[in-house]
Symmetry: C2
Subunit: 234 residues, 2 copies
Amino acid sequence: MIDQTELIFNPIKSRRTFEEVSNEIKRLIFQGILKPGDRLPSESELARRFSVGRQTIREGLRLLELSGFITVQKGSTGGSLIRDTILNRISGLFLDAIQMKNISVDELTLARVEIERVVLNHTIKNIEDLDLKNLQENILQAKKMVENHIPAFDQNIQFHKLLAKASKNPVFVIVVEAIMAVVAHFLSGYEKDVEGSRKVALLHQDIVNAIIEGNRDEAIRLLEEDLQQLKRVL
Amino acid sequence: MIDQTELIFNPIKSRRTFEEVSNEIKRLIFQGILKPGDRLPSESELARRFSVGRQTIREGLRLLELSGFITVQKGSTGGSLIRDTILNRISGLFLDAIQMKNISVDELTLARVEIERVVLNHTIKNIEDLDLKNLQENILQAKKMVENHIPAFDQNIQFHKLLAKASKNPVFVIVVEAIMAVVAHFLSGYEKDVEGSRKVALLHQDIVNAIIEGNRDEAIRLLEEDLQQLKRVL
DNA sequence: TCACATTTGTCCGTATGTATC
DNA sequence: AGATACATACGGACAAATGTG
């Protein structure tokens, strides 16, 4: 018979001190004691407060930085700043996984179509005026850039993130954010394709129009056309 | 007018040496020169080869470790081992994001239902005999455990990962893997619910049967019942 | 059982680069 | 331009863990 108390009490000291440093600071963030925008004490000060060496603090900060909880800046007013999102870090790891598994454009596009389709269904259901305004603003920016013969790469990727955000489900936001990081990576070799950017911006405009008109099937059809267009480019 | 050459050429040297160390080793992994199971040279040896200090090497290794590329062990036969997957790290970060955003069980379940539904469609289309064998084996294990009054949480979570794997799309695998990490986290307080495990195992059996019979609608209906069952527990 | 070598973990002192005032 | 505060980086040292003879 297993002594169940063994399952209840976790070891207090993890094997490595720098992990404790990271976890302790993470705890303060989760509890809201440290908020986005706050600055951590300097490395020396942290070392003094935790009673550990600076190297240990630094390795703990590396963990927090890679996890997206802080950014670190040099200089006299530098230091570790608490950030408000760890989404970009998830995207980075997602990208690593895709590269490691040699995932193809076809596989990515297939998954994108399926996932963004269901997200769009919820977006149509839950979209609010502010979301529409953001989408319109995004398209306007993209159009201005292509008029000046500058590709609107970032804007067109941002469009899909805005769509996900309008679904009002944070899980969708995270998933789409990760997928779009991979799309951006695949696209990074085609940054001079102004004509492609123009086509996509127009498609995005049509999608928003279809959403406004409540034409669900048309919106989804256009979205799929958008994604297939990308597949052809790559 | 923006000078477009600014957009094309990225800085070759990153600001910090330890990032270069991490990127260089990552490159060797991506290129297949370093393979899963291989051991990196010791920290001192790496420091010698890269002509940097050991502290710099260590911070680079922290990045690789947290990204899931290596595991590090102490001792005479210890060191840094190349791993074969970084999926669990993605799951960890995904979990961080969910905690930070205070995502609810409802929101998670909604996203799960939508995403696992489309994944199941592809699974039904692409499943092979080996996948079916793995699923049956998984259910058998779960049933054995509940017969011995042991909850089969890990098996029941693994079931969903196996379903995703059978879809033959690695993007789906990654997404479902991340989502299941969150499910496991939500479930961690209910580890003694043997009766729940039993119900779920039976549902899983029905799902596999429906897949074998090619009854797509029934399989999806059962999957949704499975997920809603979890929502009721929490 | 007992040394011994190897490797990571940790600390300290020092020096340099960098951003801000 | 100079002073200041901070991260970055190096080298040396010892402790702790882990396997071997």
